[in-house]
Symmetry: C2
Subunit: 236 residues, 2 copies
């Protein structure tokens, strides 16, 4: 069985390769589509009493500023200042992986079973954002990544809220993208044997927005538009 979602490691993540225009285009489209990223950090091993280094992978919301100050543009993730992993990650190399699953590939043999997907692996030195303006900008981008246009409809963050939030910036320069988007690729004998092979396509869809407690008003236009763009019926 081949690995449905193939391994990438830093040694094969070539900057020159990732900078090819078409790969950058796929990366940027995936950064638009994905809603959750998986952030990998190395914990321990620094004589801080945690023993040998081990990886921790966490799902995080994210935002992107292609005109951001980091090489290749900036990917932002954030968390509470109380989260130990965030403070530890300043200056450290982190990995941010995005994956959108597009289908199950049912091949004629176990070995050739696979998935259709788009993924990106970004590896870079994390920078803790100190500047208050950049921090607010990163948080606005994160809200707008979830619901485009919404940040402008909200009150500004308070100083207390900004102080409680840590933001990490990761350069997008070193990135590797991988896309599989086809039917099963089988051995000729298995095709000849007549076994069925094909794809179960998968996609993410939104339902109609649900009112929170004490929200009796009309769903705002930006939220409605976002839900419809994600596949919700247009008549809610």
């Amino acid at each position: 069985m081949s690995l449905p979602l193939s391994p990438t490691e830093r040694t094969t993540v070539r900057r020159g390769h990732a900078r090819a225009a078409d790969d950058r285009e796929v990366l940027h489209a995936l950064l638009d589509d994905a809603l959750v990223a998986h952030l990998g950090v190395v914990v321990g091993g620094d004589g801080d009493g945690d023993g040998a280094p081990y990886p921790v992978v966490l799902p995080v919301a994210f935002a992107v500023d292609l005109a951001g100050p980091d090489d290749g543009g900036t990917l932002y993730v954030h968390g509470s200042v109380a989260a130990r992993w965030l403070g530890r990650s300043g200056g450290a190399t982190v990995c941010v992986t995005l994956t959108e699953l597009d289908g199950l590939v049912a091949a004629r043999s176990a070995f050739h079973h696979s998935m259709n997907y788009r993924s990106a692996v970004v590896i870079g030195a994390a920078r803790v954002v100190v500047d208050a303006g950049e921090k607010q900008h990163a948080l606005d981008l994160t809200v707008d990544h979830m619901v485009p246009g919404r940040a402008a409809t909200l009150r500004p963050s308070t100083r207390k809220e900004l102080a409680a939030t840590a933001v990490l910036a990761v350069p997008l320069a070193e990135a590797s993208v991988k896309v599989r988007a086809e039917g099963p690729v089988d051995d000729a004998e298995d095709v000849a044997a007549g076994t069925w092979g094909g794809v179960v396509p998968l996609r993410r869809v939104a339902g109609a927005p649900e009112h929170g407690a004490d929200s009796h008003d009309r769903v705002p236009e930006d939220v409605r538009r976002r839900a419809v763009a994600l596949g919700a019926p247009a008549d809610h």
Copy 2:
């Protein structure tokens, strides 16, 4: 802004906590639902010329055997024997994270924006599966995780295919689950100000199975059943 998908680190991943029956139930349900996992490994730092250790996070297919030989049950991931990261991971601590996104939580402030999701973080020492029987079993489980029942309809893997495939087993004993499944939790002033808050629900749905090249037959019942279970129309 609070971290929508909150950090978990090994120091807070308590075996006793994760072993609470309700958490185990949530973990097992998520292991059933999720189709892709994110595997984190630490690369470098062992004097192998790669410099300081850094994390690499890769999307992988997976399978679970709750009656498997490892503590808490076994999670299997696999890849090509040519993949350097797999060989390196034998005996090393790895992290496998599963995340299913259930909604965008549009709060009344940027700070309280969040997501509804279910996630699990599994940390454990990876074991390279050597036994041919266990390897075949793991690959059958992986096929059946994608399309339940399909492994029994396929020819057995060849010795060459098994030799080309490396399988890692990760114990499920040390796992942390996290679920958010509610509307926005806002400050009273923001609710009083009348800003709309709510949730855009999200789910994954399948389309009708697509025939691969040279598959003109009826879609087999297991594939049809899987697609319908994932939301495809029943009449294809």
